[in-house]
């Protein structure tokens, strides 16, 4: 018992003088550099959040004061009128984003299933993926011009329908790519398990891949919805604007983004205040949708 201990001790003594010092040296070059870089990332993280927080702060301060029941229910005021609101624009935005979601989500989801699972390496898949990526960087005003030519000209009227389609064009690539991403990250071993249980390919997709990828898919859909809700350029050519409540999908329709665009350029305080309030409402709508989607789609297991 004691002999090996002695040996170990003598070995330590013999080697001790040659051991390097393990003490911290905070002012040595490498430590300083490391500390500097760590500090830099912290500063940059703060800098990156400044625009977001200042926008939200401004919206709350400027828009919050006018945000009341009248603002969110009444019709827009005319030039020298006081009061008024943007109830029709809220409804218009919700309806058009709804139409766009109804169009883009089914198409996007099925396309993503094809890209992620059914035939990921086919020529069609590579082409579709490439086009979707190009389309994500597509100038949104061109989507408006395209739908103007395809729908507004042929139907001879600006409409909520045309606005919805233009937004759907913009949402589609985001939905496709996010859903594909979410589905490809479902582990292969889970798909194997489902096949091994005797699932058909449709059952594997429906019962395992979609539920497992759902949080990712919903995040993608929400990003697309948030983007679409804030778009104004494509709506200029398709839905235009209206001072009245929506009564038919085939007539010009108000939207929050166009209302903000119109009112913020006017020389009247009342309209400018309403533009601020409308901006705040737009942000709140996106926020509420986002939280709801996360709540529904949160990973339960």
């Amino acid at each position: 018992m004691s002999e090996p201990n002695l040996m170990a001790e003598s070995m330590i003594q013999a080697t001790a003088p040659r051991l390097p010092s393990l003490r911290r040296t905070p002012f040595e070059g490498r430590a300083l550099k490391s500390g500097f870089l760590t500090g830099l990332t912290w500063v940059m993280a703060v800098l990156a959040s400044i625009p977001l927080f200042s926008v939200i702060y401004m919206l709350l301060v400027e828009g919050g004061s006018r945000l009341d029941w009248e603002a969110i229910t009444a019709l827009p005021p005319s030039a020298f009128e006081m009061g008024g609101g943007f109830g029709n624009a809220i409804i218009g935005t919700l309806v058009m984003v709804g139409i766009a979601t109804l169009i883009s989500v089914p198409i996007g989801l099925f396309a993503a299933i094809y890209l992620a699972i059914l035939d990921p390496d086919s020529k069609l898949a590579h082409t579709a993926r490439f086009l979707a990526k190009v389309l994500t960087g597509f100038p949104s005003i061109l989507a408006g011009v395209f739908v103007y030519a395809a729908m507004v000209v042929t139907m001879k009227t600006y409409s909520a329908l045309a606005g919805g389609v233009a937004l759907a064009v913009l949402m589609l690539p985001t939905v496709v790519l996010a859903a594909e991403q979410a589905m490809t990250t479902v582990p292969k071993k889970m798909k194997d398990a489902a096949f091994g249980m005797g699932c058909t390919r449709a059952q594997v997709i429906w019962k395992v891949v979609l539920p497992t990828g759902m949080p990712g898919i919903l995040t993608g859909v929400m990003l697309a919805v948030a983007g679409a809700a804030g778009e104004s350029a494509p709506l200029l050519f398709t839905a235009l604007f209206s001072n009245y409540f929506l009564s038919s999908l085939t007539e010009p329709t108000a939207s929050l983004s166009i209302l903000i665009f119109n009112f913020s350029g006017m020389p009247y305080d009342n309209q400018i205040e309403l533009a601020w309030a409308a901006s705040l409402v737009l942000v709140l709508i996106v926020l509420v949708l986002n939280i709801t989607a996360r709540f529904i789609g949160r990973q339960k297991f």
Binding site: P187, K189, M190, D192, A193, A194, F195, G196, M197, G198, C199, T200, Q203, K207, V208, P211, T212, Q299, K300, F301
Partner: protein, 276 residues
């Protein structure tokens, strides 16, 4: 009618096998991945209520053979099977056979535990719902979990995620999921390779219990495991004489015979640990 067919199929099987008890008869001629000949000429009869162990060095095709027994390999596009695998006399590679249905009778447990990201209960109920069982679901889930020796550990947290369990528990959950639908044959592809010795022990004990009701084919890298659980052992090896690595069945027989008195020199060297 099924029995009659099963008996005729069993007639041509190896002498050590009791004819009439053969549930599956694998008469494999060639398995290709693209142009690559992965396995050749292997005749493996599988007897009812027994455990058959597939052993052999890496790359000898034992997993490939196992996965061809319930057509899991069909999911690999370049896979091609020549030969016959009869299950109660029916060739599962017949054009008229639906591989999806085959997999419902011939279940599988994989190398990596692979529970779904659902609750423990839903994992076990998955196959039952798939087969549209509606009555006394709770009872069936409990029976399967008891069968997999997991019930006592999870009975109070059936709503928890299947992924929250430890590796050994996850693997037993996968076994519960596989036996819930009461398949005829259970294929296990190195089911313990991702488990620690204690969990391995539990899964092995479980296999010995399960063979009362099921027929089990297990691929294992661990020769001690084959000795502990398998009634019959099939030894596969790699043939490199043709310039590529092709697996084939060298010898098959009662486990004791394979380990103590093998007929082939190659088997003897392998079970003695002279190569791997």
């Amino acid at each position: 009618m099924m029995n009659a067919i099963a008996e005729t199929a069993a007639v041509e099987s190896a002498p050590a096998i009791t004819p009439g008890n053969v549930v599956m008869n694998c008469e494999l001629q060639k398995i290709f991945y693209g142009d690559f000949l992965a396995v050749r000429n292997s005749h493996v009869p599988i007897e009812k209520n027994k455990i058959i162990g597939f052993i052999g060095p890496s790359g000898c095709g034992k997993s490939t053979v196992l996965r061809s027994l319930n057509r899991m390999n069909d999911l690999i596009p370049v896979f091609r099977f020549e030969g016959k695998v009869t299950y109660h006399g029916q060739d599962i590679y017949d054009k008229k056979v639906d591989p999806v249905v085959v997999r419902r009778y011939i279940g599988m447990v994989f190398q990596q535990p692979n529970p779904f990201s659902m609750s423990i209960y839903d994992n076990v109920a998955f196959g039952l719902r798939l087969n549209r069982f509606k009555d006394n679901m709770d009872e069936r889930v409990e029976k399967a979990l008891r069968g997999a020796a997991l019930w006592n550990e999870v009975k109070d947290k059936l709503k928890n995620s299947g992924l929250s369990l430890s590796g050994g528990q996850q693997q037993r959950l996968c076994i519960a999921r596989a036996i819930a639908t009461e398949p005829d044959v259970l294929l296990m592809d190195e089911p313990c390779s991702a488990l620690d010795p204690i969990a391995t022990r539990k899964v092995e004990e479980l296999m010995l219990e399960l063979k009362e009701n099921y027929t089990i084919a297990i691929v294992t890298h661990n020769m001690q495991q084959a000795m502990r659980v398998a009634d019959t052992t099939a030894f596969f090896a790699v043939d490199i004489s043709q310039g590529s690595r092709t697996g084939y069945l060298v010898e098959m027989g009662p486990t004791q015979q394979i380990f103590e008195n093998p007929q082939q020199q190659l088997t003897r060297e392998y079970v003695r640990g002279e190569f791997s």
